[in-house]
Symmetry: C2
Subunit: 221 residues, 2 copies
DNA sequence: AGTTCGAAAATTATCTATAATTCGAATCCA
DNA sequence: TGGATTCGAATTATAGATAATTTTCGAACT
């Protein structure tokens, strides 16, 4: 584990980010620094730094002297993230394409198969993120990649909020089409498919706490 | 002034960001928290929080237990920021276009004129940023806009590094073409011009500290 | 009786001051 | 000259003090 490498603030921010993404902490609920500090057996200063990180990732919002709450989201933000991902991932793929090797594409295919076999949201999300990371990383644009990472975190949050428990396995044709186009050197076709792919927003009725059912939305690509 | 509204950490981060962008602090130089704390008459804790903010904006990089330095940049990063801006500003404009009013376009034209009249880099940059903000803000996508803001900060940094003192006035045809297309309701044409516009990278020989001359690059749109 | 306004108390964030690690550099000895 | 050790400087973490906000409780008024 890299826990000893990281500073305490980083460790706390990673743990909190994981909880927010997984839905363990509800949107809108307050993050109390003293409570967090107590839980992690530290003082409140590293906790504050962790909050600043979460804020930058868009996972929390802080109002001066009024504390920090975990960010809430609506359908509008789901669409926003989807469109940003489309624009940026297409850009990344165009630059990555020339540097893609057969080995990388094979690994990406493995990730796709792993996603198809997934029986729960969590493992599907991980496989999906692996696929996207694999084909985009060779673009060699660190700033772009880190922005895309933050967007993927947001996507995962939407996804877990909607598909909390149930998940039906499905075969991802888009991933296969993208890989096939890349293998043939047809970058534009791959980019176009990718652009459509990440904007595919799934819809699903979920039961709210009050017993009613409403529609939940999430990016499924 | 909003200084009393903001927390000390925010005030420090804004001031430091301004210095980094303007080039007052050189890339690669260290930011020492005790020195900064002393200058702003505070302790080091709010300074640390300010550093986290700068880190998130890509203006500083922090290595655990080794302190934080002003981020350096090269031609590759200039290109990277230019392409990210192109992708995201085009996206923003497509969504903003339906909500643009004649009043907004008039203000944007004023900003363009102000830019053309500017006799120094700093005021040109401000006018240019105002133009872009005006036509993009109505897209109503907060996350997208804040990402674009960070990219504009990076652009300004490249610009000031290259055009430290000299600046020749020039009339911005692209801005006028964009406005004209928008007035005619031709969103696609405006978007296409904008996409090309922000990828226009200027080149200029500058004298380094050692007396040699090298080429400097910056986004001029 | 219910509601609204106000003040006091408790909770919470923010900042200051102090202590403990850790990394780098200079010095000393072989 | 080269390596190891000690010293120094700076980051990281802790604890305590301060300021602001929210909440609660009570009284007065509708």
């Amino acid at each position: 584990m890299a826990s000893t490498e990281d500073t305490i603030a980083v460790r706390i921010s990673k743990e909190l980010a994981d909880r927010i993404i997984s839905g363990a902490i509800e949107p809108g609920s307050r993050l109390r620094q003293d409570h967090v500090a107590e839980e992690f057996n530290t003082s409140h200063v590293p906790v504050r730094e962790a909050f600043r990180r979460l804020e930058a990732q868009g996972l929390a919002i802080s109002e001066p002297r009024r504390g920090v709450r975990v960010a809430s989201f609506d359908l509008g933000e789901v669409r926003e993230v989807a469109e940003m991902r489309a624009a940026l991932e297409v850009l990344a793929l165009r630059h990555a394409a020339p540097h893609l090797t057969a080995s990388i594409l094979d690994q990406a295919e493995e990730a796709t198969k792993a996603g198809d076999k997934s029986r729960d949201v969590r493992s599907w999300e991980e496989a999906n993120r692996t696929f996207h990371r694999l084909i985009l990383a060779p673009c060699n644009m660190p700033r772009l990649l880190s922005t895309i990472d933050d967007l993927h975190a947001a996507s995962a949050r939407f996804l877990f909020a909607a598909w909390r428990s149930e998940w039906e396995t499905r075969t991802d044709q888009d991933h296969r089409a993208i890989l096939s186009a890349l293998r043939q050197g047809n970058t534009e076709s791959a980019a176009a498919t990718l652009g459509r792919h990440v904007q595919w927003i799934g819809q699903k009725p979920v039961k709210t706490a009050s017993g009613k059912t409403r529609d939940a939305f999430a990016i499924v690509g």
